[in-house]
């Protein structure tokens, strides 16, 4: 960290530039100048599956983060914030980093599938241009390995991924190979990936090259109807239940993998995407308050009222949506704003629980 960065990030400068903070002044000159925030400029965009008919396009974006980027461990994700054109709303979504582990300030890549429901992913894949500025968080998540090419173990590693869930595993594999992983260590890696079709396979060439090379990494690609089965896994990795495994993909795949490994198997680390839930249009389902562990049948009343009915005492103020005292994070499900009737299904969304009623299943961090 340079002296300038240190100085700009100091408490004295923070005091002098309050309440906006020094970054608001620096960005008047150059959006890449920051002291505390993390931003990135898109420097390259590459389409990954140009020949895939009928499936959503996938692109890899190369980002140059600001000097404040602290780097990432392979397998971590980052929150990406972007103001979509025509709207002033900043939308923030999480994306796994697909490039090998980075050092502070180093470039990273995100490989993103443009989901039909995903406004942010669609924008980043289809519309973003080189030069686009993005807001980033620091890297987050524990879906990582603690071993490196230099770690003197011969643990067998297993990756089971589906669709764009390949990205964190790819980051791990790339990191191992970059850092000198080879067959000499006699350490086996089994990489099993499920894709919709061969044409839809991302990183196809690179995976083929990895499979080809003498590196003890076995790559097994499965397409279309070939779904995950415990039988097949046992054939590839007989002792899989006692093997360190990373699984990432859609909810359905993760459920199958979890069943195979058994509940509470510490060898298995999972990460899955959270697609926006679709509104059932009526009350019903279950409301769960994840922090307190309470849950009950959704009565259709506001989240605040339902929480109180369960004996919880969330903070509140006006109880009519004006004071923002009761804002909580809705982690899953759909809520309807009782004042406006507007429904929202975004995951990890901040809602005023006094004017938000769940529609169907709903989970709130409370």
């Amino acid at each position: 960290m340079s002296i300038t960065t240190k100085l700009l990030g100091s408490k004295a400068v923070a005091a002098l530039t309050s309440p906006h903070g020094v970054d608001r002044y620096l960005e008047m000159f150059n959006p890449m100048w920051v002291a505390t925030e993390v931003r990135a400029r898109v420097v390259d965009i590459k389409r990954e599956n140009p020949n895939a008919e009928g499936s959503a396009p996938v692109a890899t974006l190369t980002l140059q983060p600001t000097s404040t980027w602290r780097g990432h461990r392979a397998g971590q994700y980052v929150q990406v914030g972007v103001e979509l054109p025509g709207s002033a709303r900043r939308m923030t979504r999480c994306f796994s980093i697909s490039s090998a582990a980075s050092l502070p300030g180093e470039r990273i890549t995100l490989t993103i599938r443009a989901n039909d429901e995903g406004q942010v992913s669609k924008f980043l894949v289809n519309e973003a241009q080189v030069g686009q500025m993005l807001h980033l968080s620091q890297a987050e998540g524990d879906f990582t390995i603690h071993e490196s090419a230099a770690t003197p173990t011969n643990n067998h590693l297993v990756f089971i991924t589906g669709g764009s869930g390949i990205t964190p595993a790819m980051s791990i594999a790339r990191t191992l190979l970059r850092d000198g992983y080879d067959a000499k260590a006699n350490r086996k890696v089994t990489f099993i990936h499920f894709a919709r079709s061969e044409a839809d396979q991302i990183f196809a060439d690179e995976l083929a090259a990895i499979a080809e090379a003498d590196n003890h990494i076995d790559v097994h690609l499965r397409y279309g109807d070939q779904v995950f089965s415990e039988f097949e896994l046992r054939r590839l990795v007989p002792d899989f239940k006692n093997t360190d495994t990373w699984a990432c993909g859609p909810g359905g795949l993760i459920e199958l993998v979890k069943d195979a490994y058994g509940e509470e198997n510490a060898r298995l680390r999972v990460e899955f995407f959270k697609p926006p839930a679709f509104s059932t249009g009526a009350a019903g389902g279950d409301v769960s308050f994840t922090r307190s562990g309470e849950s009950a049948e959704n009565t259709g009343a506001t989240l605040l009222e339902q929480a109180e009915a369960l004996g919880l005492k969330p903070e509140f103020g006006c109880r009519m949506g004006i004071c923002f005292s009761c804002v909580k994070t809705k982690t899953d499900g759909t809520v309807r704003n009782v004042l406006t009737g507007e429904e929202s299904s975004l995951p990890d969304e901040e809602v005023r629980i006094c004017v938000s009623a769940p529609v169907g299943d709903c989970a709130v961090d409370l």
């Binding site: 004295a12 005091a15 002098l16 309050s18 309440p19 906006h20 903070g21 608001r24 002044y25 008047m28 914030g81 103001e83 025509g86 709207s87 002033a88 709303r89 900043r90 939308m91 923030t92 103020g317 006006c318 009519m320 949506g321 004006i322 004071c323 923002f324 005292s325 804002v327 004042l339 406006t340 901040e350």
Partner: protein
Amino acid sequence: MTITDIPTQAQAKAKKRSTVRASDPKNPNLTPAQLDEFGDRLDALRQEVLGKLGKEDADYIRMIVKRQQQFEIAGRALFYLPPAWPLAVAALSVSKILENMEIGHNVMHGQYDWMGDPKLNSRIYDWDTMAPGENWKYGHNYIHHTYTNILGKDRDIGYGILRMDEDQKWTPQYLGNPLYAFLLMIFFEEGVALHDLEVDRIRSGERTWEQTKQVGKPIVKKVGKQVLKDYVLFPALTGPLFLSTLAGNAVANVVRNIWTFNIIFCGHFPAGVATFTEEECENESRGHWYYRQLLGSANITGGKLFHIMSGNLSHQIEHHLFPDIPARRYPELSVEVKKLCEEYGIEYNTGGLTHQLWTVAKKIVRLSFPNGKPKTNRTESPSADESVAA
């Protein structure tokens, strides 16, 4: 109830009183059904504007932040040039006024939360004044905006120092009403910071020292930060000009104090603004809440620049009806609100700055003395009396 029947020039016909009750004959006695309908129409209005929020609003607030930063940079820099001292103070005052009103107050109301920009988020932003945002949001966004003008509930009626309503029991200490008001104006920043301590409620025993210490801690911390910034760091950066910069910063803070005090006192204290009793607001409908906000607030007329410099709180009525809608939308909303008021026969209290201020000043002076005639036309509520008088 009427103690001063002085017809003002602007509104010779409608007699203005020192204190107006919601039950006053000049106010329409709307039926619950009418109130519901009234509420629905305001909800519809709100919906319409919410639907329009977008780039324009985001560009506007970012433009204001940028201008404010430019004024601040200019002000801080001009202190290095001793002959430009008055200019420096002027630029810094404008910056502080913009920051406190159009940016701080409005951002902390959650008006721009929909943008998803953490820098403009009500839960993160903390303004350039001694009152910590966290405390202020409780006292202001919740207590004041929910219980607006309910005697004994809304602590912004007189701020625990002034007698601003006939139903606050008179004691001889209120002879100092005008003096207290003047001092509050000069030290408004400190006053707002201390407001949340609710010192008056410690005296009356409603609050313990322990609770007060909890509220006090963030205040001490924030005051320390503000003092460090304006009275130590920035003066020190100008080296030999330390004292002149310190004085300049102090003057800018006071200029901001005077301006904000005047705008804010015109929001709820001009003649004709009504207060409510707790009984009148029991199990209140949304329509009645809107109705109370309307009767309990007053606007100030003026040009575009004036509205910006007042954070659009010159549209106090619209602000109280729609506290979480970006304030730049209030002027367009006021056209519709006025029409609705005419339709329902509700007085829409508005006037020029000097006119509104004059009636506020008269009220402050008048209420420093005991009420004249005994009240006749409304039932007393002793409990409200007690708590307000505290």
